[in-house]
C-alpha cells in the first residue's frame, strides 16, 4: 500500500514543479498585496484554503475593502469561476472510481490541477486516484504556503521577479501543444482559441469568459457529427 502511494507521488511531483514556481510567485504576491491593504496574514491564508482559486482571491480582496454586498459577491464570484463547470464535465469520467478522494479532487480542482490531471497520460502501474490526489494536494500546498508567506512578510521582500508569472502561460501553452499534437482532429482546439480571441476582442478582458464558454459549447454542439466522425467514435 505504502509503495503505491509513493509511486504515485513520485510520478505526480515533477508535473507540479512549474506550478510550484508559479504558485509561490503569485501566492506570495497575493499575500503581500493583502498585507499592504491592511489584512492580517490569516486572511490570505484562510482565503487560499477556502476559495482556492487565484483570480477570485484577488477580486475578493477588493470586495472586502468595499461595501458589504452579499448577492453581488455571490454572482460575481460565480461568473469569475464559471469556467470550472467545464472542468467538471471534462473530468466526470476521470474522477470516477476514486472513492473518498473524489470530493477532495473536485474541491481542489483549480485551473492548474485540472489541466495536469486532464492532460497527463498516467503510466501503467501508477494509481490514477493517488496520482490526481497528489497533484491536487501539492498544488494546494504551494498556493496556501505562498499566500501565507506573502502575508507574513508583507512588503519586506523586494525581489526582481518581474515576468515570473509567465510560467503559468508557458505551462498552458505546453499542455495545449501536447494535446494538439496528440489529437486526431483539431476542430476543438481551434474552437477554443478562436472563440476566446473573438470574445476577448468583443467583450474585453473583464467579461469575455462567459460569452467564450457559450460560444465553445454552441460550436462544439454544431460540429459534434464532424468531430465524432474524425475521432472514429462509436457513439
Amino acid at each position: 500500500m505504502e509503495s503505491k502511494k509513493l509511486k504515485a507521488l513520485k510520478c505526480a511531483f515533477p508535473k507540479t514543479v512549474p506550478i510550484f514556481a508559479g504558485f509561490w510567485f503569485l501566492g506570495i504576491s497575493y499575500g503581500i498585496m493583502m498585507r499592504t491593504q491592511g489584512f492580517s496574514f490569516l486572511y490570505p491564508t484562510l482565503m487560499a484554503i477556502t476559495i482556492f482559486g487565484g483570480s477570485l482571491e484577488f477580486v475578493a480582496a477588493s470586495m472586502l475593502l468595499g461595501a458589504f454586498a452579499p448577492l453581488q459577491t455571490l454572482l460575481v464570484s460565480f461568473m469569475i469561476q464559471a469556467r470550472h463547470l467545464f472542468y467538471g464535465i471534462a473530468m466526470l469520467e476521470k474522477y470516477k472510481g476514486t472513492g473518498w478522494k473524489k470530493p477532495y479532487l473536485i474541491y481542489a480542482m483549480c485551473d492548474e490541477s485540472f489541466s495536469i490531471n486532464c492532460s497527463t497520460e498516467i503510466p501503467p502501474g501508477v494509481d490514477k486516484g493517488w496520482f490526481m490526489f497528489f497533484v491536487s494536494l501539492l498544488n494546494q500546498i504551494y498556493w496556501v504556503s505562498g499566500a501565507m508567506i506573502g502575508g507574513l512578510l508583507g512588503s519586506l521582500v523586494k525581489f526582481d521577479t518581474e515576468g515570473l508569472s509567465f510560467v503559468m502561460t508557458a505551462m498552458f501553452v505546453v499542455i495545449f501543444l501536447d494535446s494538439f499534437l496528440k489529437e486526431k482532429q483539431h476542430i476543438s482546439s481551434f474552437i477554443g482559441i478562436g472563440a476566446s480571441v473573438i470574445c476577448l476582442l468583443i467583450f474585453g478582458s473583464e467579461s469575455f469568459m462567459i460569452p467564450t464558454m457559450v460560444c465553445i459549447t454552441v460550436l462544439l454542439t454544431l460540429s459534434r457529427r464532424q468531430i465524432e466522425k474524425r475521432e472514429g467514435d462509436e457513439t
Binding site: 477556502t50 526582481d160 515576468g163 502561460t169 499542455i175 477554443g192
Partner: protein, 108 residues
Amino acid sequence: MTLTQQIITVALCAIATMATRFIPFLLFTPDKPTPKYIQYLGRALPSAIFGMLVIYCLKDVSLFSGSRGAPEAIAIAVVVLLHLWRRNMLLSIAGGTVCYMVLVQTIF
C-alpha cells in the same frame, strides 16, 4: 465591513467557487448513465479549454500599446520550438519563462 460581514463575504466566494466545481458531478452521478451529449462534451472540451486557458493568461496583454505583446509572442514561440525539439515539459516551460523574464526586465 464588520468581521462577520467579512466572514460572510469570503464564505460566499468559497460557496460560489465550490458550486462551479461540484455542479457537474452532482448533476451527472455515476449511478445513472451520463447522457451521450454530455459524454461527448466531456471528450471534446479539454482541447478547447486548454486553448481558452492560453488566451485567458494573455487577456491583459495590450496589442495596441506598450510592448504590443512582443515579449509574450517571442516567449511563446520559444516555448513551442523548445517543446517541438525536446518534448520536455519542464525544459520548455523554464526556457520560455527565463526568456520572458529577460525580455521584460532588459529590453522592453
